[in-house]
Structures are given as structure tokens and as C-alpha cells.
Amino acid sequence: MSARNRELLALVPVAVVVAAGFAAVFIVKDNEVSDVSLIYAGYFLGLCLAAHIFLRIRLPYADPYLFPLCALLAAVGLVVIYRIDDKLAFDQASVFVLGLILFCLTILFLRDYHVLERYRYLIATAGILLLMAPYITRNPVNGAYLSVDIGPIAFQPAELAKICIVIFLASYLAENREMLSVAARRFMGLTIPPLKHFGPLLVVWGAAMLMLVFIKDLGSSLMFFGAFLALLYVATGRFSYVLIGLVIFFVGAYAIGSSITHVHDRFEIWLDPFGRNAPEGAGQVQQSLFAQADGGLFGQGLGESLLKLPGPFAPNCEQPFPDCGSILPAPHTDFIFAVVTMELGLFGACGLILIYALIAARGFKTAVMAPDGFSKLLATGLTAVFALQAFVIIGGVTKVIPLTGVTLPFVSFGGSSIVANMILLALLLLISDRARRPPSEPIANDPIDLAGLPA
């Protein structure tokens, strides 16, 4: 069977999840959701099919499972969001249109993604500017600088910035990996690279620390720095670099974390969310754990659990549910994993984690099959940053690490997250198509690929 036929077949479970999920929610909440809302499911599946046909034409050799797995995540996310609020599900399905457009544009215009290497400093600058944007526009959410308001849309630039920074790192390391790995000295059993090459490493560390200082978000900096270490390790094969990197990251994070109230509070809450003097915001983590406790092995069932505070318990506020009046804060964004656990149980939650593990497997497989250093590093970096993002938010919700406000990729409600991850997926599929293409099949001449850049 050809790759694309396998992909089409793998979309069947996606259709089943969406259909069954919407039907279940519709039956349970029949007096609350409109009949029209069932169309959102069809709307979403139509978009999946369109993306598949596009891939069939443009990237016939790309990995057949990456797209269906991501679509499966999106399907779970859409069902859960539909359960939270049917109007939000419409918005989410609509965001997929925008995501799909950018997905297609990325594939069309980056036929040869090696062109990215030429613009790496420009891309890096763009990435850092994106990261700094919320700080520049002074727009803190829960004490962290994570989003920019563009008109009515809250845009989270960190989502796009992660791609920019991975592209830069992959390209930089692909060029300098020989220097970094060979010209090294040994000191106390550790391999220390020459200072000249060590410099950029320190720069990235400094950038991660600055992120902590400016955007005040431990999770995001952990995600970026973790992806960087993964790339550094893959590029040089030297575990000692990772060790040094981790040590200086945690030393720096500790030093900065203890002096920045917001980060310090998150840390305190993580240590003991039920402490008598737990900082304000501990309630969020408490509610997350209480919601998961209600899940048990099989969950309470879609739409069956307590989310919207009933009658007299509902607070008086202007914002509509779920921004206000939900017992679990931010059930559609930061804490969507807790909703999954509560309604689908430990099995549902593990299923979701399994999908991420499978996506990581396909991503790293793409990296292994990729023909050249830049492709390998880019695929590794994109996959690592994607997996780490899932780890950082699920870890925060389940109290593995301090809670930070990043989205659960493809599942959380939110435009920038969906759009950015669609672009990330497009890049992975581009690398995969190149890696799996039989040598006899030339790459179609692309209008953008005029420069004919060397790999």
C-alpha cells in the first residue's frame, strides 16, 4: 500500500473519534447544545480530508502516520472543547482553516526547506523579537508575559518563536558540529569545548535565562532550553555538554527563580499546593488534582463530570463560561488535560500521552532517515520541542513540574498554538518526504527553489 493510502486509512480512527465523541456529548448535553453543532464535526473532517488530498499531490512520500496522529490529537481536543462549550468548538474548527492554509503555504513555498539555512540569523532575530513581544506590549497573563493582543485575537508568539529558534539552532549546529565535537579538551572527566565554540552555547543559555527574567515563564524556557540541549547532544554526540547545560540551566533558574516572585510562587505551589501559606494561585493546581481524582480508571464520561458551577455556586462575573464559572480554571486551555482525565479516566489520559509518544516516534524516525545534518537536526529539534511542550503542560497539570501556561499541542483551544503546530507539522512532513523519496524521483521544480542552494 502506498504511503498516502495508509494515511487515508489511518484517518478512519480520527473520523470515528470525532463522530463518537460529538455524538456522546450531544446525547448527554442535548438540552444545552444546538443541533447545528454536530456540523462542526463534519467541518473538521472535511478539513482533514482536504489536507490529505493536498499531501497526496505535494508530498506523496512523506510519513503516512504523522498527519493522522496529529489529526487524532486535534479530534480529541475538538471533542473535549465541544463538551466544554459548543460555541468554542466552532471557533476551534475555524482556526483549523487558517492552520490548514498556513500548512499548505509552508509546503508550497518551502519545497526545499534548506533555503531556511540562508536566513538563519534573520529567523533567529524574528524568534527572539516574537518572544519579547508580549513583554514589549506589557501584557502579562497570570503574571507571565505570554501573549500579544492583535485586535480581538490573543496571539501567543512563543508558539511561533519555538519554530524559529529550532530552525536557527539546527542550522547553526549543522555547520559547527565538527568544531564542537572534535576540538575539545578533557577536564575532570568532562569534555569541554574550546571557548570559541562554547560561546554560542552560553548565548543560548543566556537567552533562556533572559526569557525567564522577562517573560517570567519557567516552562517555556525549559522547553526551549531542553530542545537546544537535545540538538546539541545529537549534533555533537557528547553527553557532557548536556550535563553542563542542565547544571547551568538549573543553577540559573534557581538563582533567578528565587528572586522573581511569580516564578518563586509557582515553585512553592508545586512543592505543596495544600500548604497553609501556599501562594495565591495554589487553588488552580488543587482544582486540577481534584478534577483528576474524579476521573478514576475510566472517567466519568464525556459531559458527565462537574465543570460548570451550578446555580448558587456560580460566581458573579461578566465573562462567559468557561473563562468564568468553571470549577476548574482554564479548562479549555492550560487544564484541558485534567478535563480529559476527569471525563475519560486514566485510560483516556494515557491514550492521549501515547499519541504524543507515537508522534515523537515518527518525528525522530524522520530525523534518523533524513539524508543530511541540517535535516536531521531540524527534525530532531521540531520533534523535541513539540514533545517537550506536551511534557511541560501535562507535567504542570499533574504536578510533575511547576505549572506554566503553555498550550497542549493540537488539543488546547487557541489559534496561535494550532497555527504554529500546523507549520511545525508541515516542516516535519517536508523533511520526511525528502528522506523517503526514492532516488529516481526528482524533486519537482519549485518556483521558490530558484537559488538551488547546497544542502
Partner: protein, 488 residues
């Protein structure tokens, strides 16, 4: 570069395994502890969303209902008690802030519709919302009303009783069904939902929240002689006509014991002794039986442990011989002669004495007391029904009949002469525990059952205090009226 890539993947898998571990910790292993945390309002809110079942008396009077309040499509249900203070005890209350007590607590699983995992999965598949079962109690609202009013008026009109409490318990001997459980003073459970009221009731020195029939222990006085007589006859050591001295001032455990009013008798039999409540006779019986035998029979009657009633443990107290808060056992130094006449450090709950009467009435078999007549699920199916259950074989049928005869003589010619239950023969025993001899403060009791030949109802009536009065004249009339109202 491929080996490091695979290692990075392995690391990602380790991180994900950590997520699985922590998720299972919260969702399964630590779930119960999290649900029990005081910060967790989920169980409470969820419970309020379930329409709680109603509570009805056996004669069809609505005692408790749940009414939807606020929230449109997501209302919460709030408890209403149409009978006000009549059933404050023993039904209790169920509110978000005040909590849940008494029958509302002991029958909570039925009222809240808690089901086993399997049934709730089927309900989920059928998309039936969780709903509580409606329950019918064995309590009779008319008799409860009569008992409460009689108690209140007796307390108001008897010297020395005012400001103190009283208790009436009526049990159907053949089934253990509790028909009346009145505790005075009472409280209106509807008020408990008002801020501050519960605190006020808790501070009230008259203790209106205490369910006296099951929770408070009192000196039983001469009503205890029924237990002693039953033990004496059933052990085979005594017959109704066994002769002993009824002289006042006999030494019991080295201390002279007086008969009530200093009355003195010659050689008398047990029938006469019970009819006229002769202390010295029964004290000698107690001494002859010994602590072991007395405690053996008291245990069979239900002493030394909480009543086997479907009621919260923290609302029941065991009857027995107390040293402070400690229950003594047969091996301890006890003046058993005085225990046999309801003195020493013997303390009993009113329900225990009602169980004593009910046991004699039911041919010597004690049935487990119960409040639950039946429960119907929201579809009208009966999911639970009173199934009489024997608690213990206390004495033989012969002994029970002999004691019944003697108790009948009490109401015909003894300390309770002059009381009537609709003109039919009935059995009874008075009790007048002296709790403050100097000031003449007594604790009047009456236990009994009717009709004597085919008992339908057994009662125990107790007033906490009165001045210079006797059980027969204060507690007796309440008991006979309650019995009369409950006889078909």
C-alpha cells in the same frame, strides 16, 4: 547522529512515563484522599445537584423534601422539613454548610441514590441522571406528635421538670419498627440552614440537638427490675412465687437499702415484689444471681453496646454500668444488688428500656430496632423493605409470659394502677430514680406494652427531672396515651 536521536527519544519516553505515573497517582491511587480533602468542594456540589429522596412517615406525612433552587437548568436542591421541629430529632438535617446528621446521614446512600459501580454504569448508558430514592420511615407522625405534645405539657406542668428534657420511644415488638422517637426539647431543622443558628443551638444548655432516646443515658430506676425478674426466672433459680424478705433496711453490699417510702414487707413472692416495686426483694435476687448472670442477661437485652439501630454511631450510646466514661465489665467491683434495682452506676438509654419492654412483649425475642419501612427508587420500584431481623434470643417464651403477667399486675393493682389503655389489659413497670435525694429530685420512668395478651406496641417514657413525683403519675399517662394511639 542516529544513536543520539534514538537516545533523545528514549528520554522523551521516560518523561512521558513520568506523566503516566503521576496521572495514575491522582486519578486512581491518591483519588480517595483527594476527594476527602476539605478544600475539595466537588463531592459537596455534585451531591447538591442530585434531587435527594423524600422522607415520609409510615402514616403518609411528608417529613423531608428537596426543592430545586436557582440556576435554571443547573439547579441545586435544598432540603425542606414541612413538619418543623416535630422530627428535628431523630430525622436530623442535610445542608451544605451545616452538614448532615441522624437519619439523613444513616440513610444517605438511599436518599442520595448512591449505587454500586455496575448499576451506575448501566444508568450512564441509559443516560438516566442520578436520583435519590424516596424512603418511608417506620415513625408514625400522629403518635410522634402526641408523644411530643404530651411530653412538653408534662414538663411544663410538673414541678421541677421545667427547663429539662424528656424522651418517648415506641417500638413494634414483632418487627423492631420504631414508631415514635420523641426528644424534648427539639429544634426546627429548617432553621439550621440560617447562618449562626447551628452554633446557637450547640451552645444551648437545654441541648435541643441531642437525640435523648439514643444518645443520653439515665439512671433507669425500678424499670430495671423487669430485666432482673426476667434473668431470675429464665436462669431457673427463681419462680414467680419464690419467697424472699421484703423488709426495708436490709443490708445490700454492706449498706442498708430502703424501700420506696420506707414501706416494709414480710416474706413476699416475686409477683408481689414487682407489682409493688420492692427494692430489697430484687436487690437480693441480684445478689443471688451474681454479676456474671446479671451481665449475661443484660447483654442479651442489648446492654453494653450501641443499639443495633440504623442510626449514626456518634448519635448512640451503650447502656451499662459506668465508671465515669468507662463501661465496667462483670469482673469489676460492682454492687450488683443495686444494679438489679436500677441504681449503682447503671445508666441506660431510653431506647434500651423500650427494647427491654419489646423483648418481653415479643415472647423473649429481641428484634433489631429499625427506622426504615421501605425505599422506592425514582421509577417507583421498591428497592428496600423492612425485613424483621432478630437481634437475640433473650429469654424463653415461658419466662416472657411470666414477666408479662407480673407487669400486668403492676398496671392493675400495683404502682401503675389507675392507668388505662382503652380499657384493655396492658403490661407496665414504673421507675422513679432518685437523683437528688436532698431536694427530692427524681427521674420518672415508665416502660410497658399493650395489649398484654397480643402486644402491638412497647414504649419507654422518661422525664429528666421532676420534684417529688413518681414515674407512674408523670411518665405513665404519656405512655398509655401513646400506646392507645398506636393500637389498631
Amino acid at each position: 547522529m542516529n544513536t543520539p536521536i534514538i537516545r533523545v527519544y528514549a528520554l522523551v519516553l521516560v518523561l512521558f512515563a513520568l506523566l503516566v505515573y503521576f496521572t495514575s497517582k491522582w486519578a486512581v491511587f491518591d483519588a480517595d484522599a483527594l476527594k476527602d480533602r476539605t478544600e475539595n468542594r466537588r463531592p459537596l456540589i455534585e451531591e447538591q445537584q442530585v434531587p435527594r429522596g423524600s422522607i415520609t412517615s409510615s402514616d403518609g406525612v411528608l417529613i423531608a423534601e428537596s426543592n430545586p433552587q436557582g440556576g435554571g437548568r443547573h439547579p441545586v436542591y435544598v432540603r425542606n422539613y414541612p413538619q418543623g421541629s416535630l422530627f428535628g430529632n431523630p430525622v436530623g438535617y442535610n445542608f451544605v454548610d451545616a452538614g448532615r446528621t441522624e437519619i439523613e446521614q444513616s440513610e444517605n446512600d438511599l436518599l442520595a441514590g448512591e449505587q454500586n459501580e455496575f448499576a451506575s454504569i448501566i444508568d450512564q448508558l441509559a443516560s438516566n441522571p442520578q436520583e435519590g430514592a424516596d424512603i418511608t420511615l417506620t415513625l408514625d407522625a400522629a403518635a410522634q406528635q402526641l408523644a411530643t405534645e404530651q411530653l412538653q405539657s408534662a414538663i411544663a406542668s410538673t414541678p421541677g421538670a421545667s427547663g429539662f428534657g424528656g424522651s418517648v420511644v415506641a417500638i413494634e415488638p414483632s418487627s423492631g419498627a420504631v414508631k415514635v422517637m420523641a426528644s424534648v426539647p427539639g429544634y426546627d431543622p429548617n432553621d439550621v440552614n440560617q447562618p449562626g443558628v447551628l452554633k446557637e443551638l450547640n451552645r444551648d444548655e437545654a441541648a435541643p440537638l441531642v437525640n435523648r432516646p439514643t444518645q443520653s443515658t439515665y439512671e433507669p430506676g425500678s424499670t430495671m427490675k423487669v430485666v432482673t425478674a426476667a434473668a431470675a426466672l429464665d436462669s431457673g433459680q427463681f419462680q414467680p412465687d419464690t419467697q424472699l424478705s421484703g423488709e426495708t433496711g436490709l443490708e445490700i453490699d454492706g449498706v442498708p437499702l430502703e424501700n420506696a417510702g420506707g414501706e416494709t414487707f414480710g416474706e413476699i413472692d416475686m409477683d408481689f415484689a414487682l407489682t409493688h416495686s420492692v427494692n430489697t426483694y430484687f436487690a437480693q435476687v441480684g445478689e443471688k444471681l451474681g454479676t456474671e448472670t446479671m451481665f449475661e442477661y443484660m447483654g442479651r437485652f442489648g446492654f453494653f453496646k450501641d443499639p443495633e439501630l440504623d442510626f449514626p454511631d456518634d448519635r448512640m450510646a451503650p447502656s451499662g454500668v459506668y465508671d465515669g466514661d468507662t463501661l465496667l465489665s462483670a469482673g469489676d467491683a460492682i454492687d450488683i444488688g443495686r444494679v438489679a434495682i436500677g441504681q449503682e452506676r447503671l445508666l441506660t438509654t431510653p431506647i434500651q428500656m423500650a427494647e427491654v419492654a419489646a423483648t418481653i412483649a415479643n415472647d423473649g425475642k429481641l428484634m433489631k430496632p429499625t427506622f426504615l419501612q421501605s425505599a422506592k427508587d425514582p421509577d417507583g420500584r421498591t428497592i428496600s423493605e423492612l425485613d424483621p431481623d432478630e437481634q437475640s434470643d433473650v429469654v424463653s417464651e415461658e419466662t416472657a409470659n411470666q414477666v408479662t403477667d407480673m407487669m400486668t399486675h403492676v398496671t392493675e393493682e400495683g404502682t401503675a394502677a389507675g392507668l388505662t389503655v382503652g380499657g384493655i389489659a396492658f403490661a407496665g413497670k414504673t421507675g422513679t430514680a432518685e437523683i437528688d435525694v436532698e431536694n427530692g429530685i427524681n427521674r420518672p420512668w415508665f416502660i410497658g406494652f399493650a395489649p398484654a395478651d397480643d402486644p402491638q406496641i412497647a414504649v419507654a417514657v422518661m422525664l429528666e427531672r421532676c420534684q417529688g413525683c413518681f414515674g407512674g403519675e408523670v411518665a405513665g399517662p404519656i405512655a398509655t396515651q401513646v400506646m392507645e394511639s398506636l393500637i389498631n
